[in-house]
Subunit: 433 residues, 2 copies
């Protein structure tokens, strides 16, 4: 049986998981790959004594992996931007295939890396970068290759989903975040997770794989969950909706929508039932309709599962000496689509609005008339008489789908009404229909 040599760079959570699973399931994996996957070298600056490397060659300098002529596939699991970029670029220049779990690296520098990989005739695979162990990139690029992908919507950050799930019990964001940190679900600096940057990295990659457009992370709209309140969660529930932090990418005639924000989704839809730290990605294709992929979005061996699936795919093509790989972004470069990312004002969505109005006759009529002037139809409206406070009543409105521009203008007009106090709370909503 042929042998393919991999070099693992980084021995943290995912690196350790990858080493352990590759070792434990070596026979099984060889039976699937049609070749033996040998760990030719492991490199890490911070060795671990809880992992038995046996007689695997070991270095504290990751350059040793890239310069080792016996290594066919470099597995980049060090994370971050700069060193990872240098590592991957050198591997490509040395004619080595690359497997990475680094979503930030691919989202920011993927276009350059894929271009270099094409020139050097090597693969760059990144399944583990999106939704951890769920093979969603494979589903999008291969399983649904018959389809025009129309949209994708994903719960692609476990920390955020855990926090929103716990907030349904009426608990405040700050309190749940602290708990998530104590449980190890959230980092000490939770910015990337709760502000949506991590989800935007993954969404950028999914959109490129599904739509066949270049990676455009800098154009993704990102809104976090820190402003979501138990009050709005409860009122969304009363309207039949659940608030999820979704990454949404949608193909439109004149461009693509690329946005991460808190979103109301119908409770009856399966994705609304995905709770806790789990991830799920919903994909709509013109032939298949809606399919959903669900599972762990993080964790040592779950992420390793995706890293190794990529290694097996690459190893199979190395063993076959075939260049007929699946294209990086789901499309051959000359078949890529020229769709730009639309500005947020041009996206289409339904909206949940919460207005604090003075309890005076005619307030509802003025609100309804402003929405109507802006061409906005109302799906439901709730006036919470029971919550009258300081002479103000919350008015909660769910609109039909309109352009974000229309809502922005309507909100300006609503906020200028003498009977409306403070800011209008706005959360986007999707019906997936």
């Amino acid at each position: 049986m042929k042998e393919v040599n991999v070099g693992i760079c980084g021995l943290g959570t995912v690196g350790g998981g990858t080493f352990n699973v590759l070792t434990r399931n070596a026979e099984r994996i060889a039976g699937r790959a049609g070749c033996r996957i040998r760990i030719g070298r492991v490199a890490t600056r911070t060795p671990r004594d809880d992992i038995d490397l046996g007689d695997t060659p070991f270095s504290t300098d990751i350059a040793d992996v890239v310069n080792d002529p016996s290594i066919d596939i470099v597995v980049e699991l060090i994370g971050g931007y700069d060193t990872a970029y240098e590592l991957v670029m050198s591997a490509i220049r040395n004619g080595k295939h690359v497997v990475t779990a680094n979503k930030a690296l691919i989202a920011m520098y993927g276009n350059e890396l894929f271009e270099a990989a094409d020139r050097h005739g090597v693969n760059v695979a990144y399944e583990a970068g999106v939704a951890g162990g769920i093979p969603v990139i494979k589903a999008i690029r291969e399983g649904l290759s018959a389809n025009r992908i129309d949209w994708m919507a994903g719960i692609i950050n476990g920390t955020g989903n855990y926090i929103l799930t716990e907030m349904r019990a009426g608990r405040a964001f700050d309190e749940v975040l602290k708990e998530a940190q104590a449980l190890g679900y959230a980092e000490a600096d939770p910015t990337f997770d709760v502000e949506g940057t991590d989800a935007a990295h993954k969404l950028t990659i999914m959109a490129s794989a599904g739509f066949g457009v270049p990676l455009q992370f800098e154009k993704a709209y990102t809104e976090g969950i820190a402003d979501v309140t138990p009050y709005d969660i409860a009122h969304a529930e009363a309207l039949g909706y659940r608030i999820k932090h979704l990454g949404i990418a949608r193909r439109r005639d004149n461009g693509i929508e690329l946005r991460v924000h808190p979103t109301l989704v119908p409770k009856s839809h399966l994705i609304a039932q995905v709770d806790g730290v789990l991830n799920a990605v919903l994909v709509d294709g013109d032939a298949v309709g809606q399919t959903m992929y669900y599972g762990p979005g993080a964790g040592d061996e779950a992420t390793a599962s995706a890293v190794i699936a990529d290694i097996v795919d690459v190893a199979r093509s190395v063993a076959a000496q075939s260049q007929q790989r699946v294209p990086y972004l789901g499309f051959e470069p000359d078949a890529m689509e020229s769709l730009d990312v639309l500005p947020m004002e041009d996206i289409q969505s339904a909206y949940y609005l919460r207005i604090h109005a003075l309890d005076r006759p005619g307030v509802l009529a003025s609100v309804a008339s402003i929405l109507s002037e802006h061409g906005i139809n109302i799906e439901s409206i709730m006036q919470k008489e029971s919550e009258l406070e300081d002479g103000r009543i919350p008015v909660i409105i769910l609109t039909h789908t309109v352009q974000e521009r229309q809502i922005n203008r309507a909100i300006e007009d609503l906020e200028s009404l003498a009977d409306v106090q403070g800011h209008v709370i706005r959360i986007r909503a999707e019906n997936f229909s």
Copy 2:
């Protein structure tokens, strides 16, 4: 750009969908495959005037496709056993790759077909045979290739799931079945769907792909849903469970469990929320944990989506002239596992039991003592005093996981009690933990 020629045999629901999607998305599909997929011939005994074949060569004899030297891939969409077997075998003998949606054919004759395909160096692909448009075979064979798959559980028959979903409203099986037939969800002869044969075909294929064992349809245990009553559905709900018609394949140390039957699943689990005609497959791997794949299990273009994904995969390897394909059953032949299908008596499951007991002192004690004698622990027990009728009371029990042999023996003893009347109703239960 290279061209790969496919010949479509059969122009029914899936054949028509495949022709239409291949035509409509031709550019997109070529961009993904790295080669042009040309429909070189369509053959059907029953032409359709609602599909515009344009100048595609057309035959009423499917042998024309198999004998056409320009055809690289034969797409078998005629269904059934005998003619389909002859067609696929001749295609293989003529050195052509095969893509099929025919689960019955693969479940019954797959071992022979794969063996012949290996001898002739061609592929036989069958993604569309399991769970329609959901790319679950790709997930199992490729996306989870790092894992020892421990078990799979699927809602893999839409008709059955539709019926059980509607029965939750208290409606009887026969009534809902008639409605499903009127809506076109169920065939005039619904036997294959409601008795579980169709699900057993799909489960057999999944088990072989996931565990790397030969296809053993004849050893699958199959129990239909005709005996499920609204009464038991309601009581399962009261216990926190939903009844689903599941196909379950589980790896055990001494063999595999392969069984289709009504099953109680916890309402809190995502798979319990999959309603109507939709399909979902839950896969547990030792590295990744649980992942789930959800979507349409039938339909013209949904199934075509899976057929075409297979065509693209095969076309990519044809264009590369590579024999380094993904192994048929997820494993190279010499790495296959020698696990036998266990007899039903040896499977492990939890159980829902409904006993009709005379309302006499000591009945509960005798029941509990019989279960205890057989080593069966009770998770919960409900005695429905309010339903006392003719001096009989229903006693509902949910057990912990035991061997089916233990339950069979306990039921025999229970039925021989003077205070127990009629048969004990038994439905299996799974906690997926």
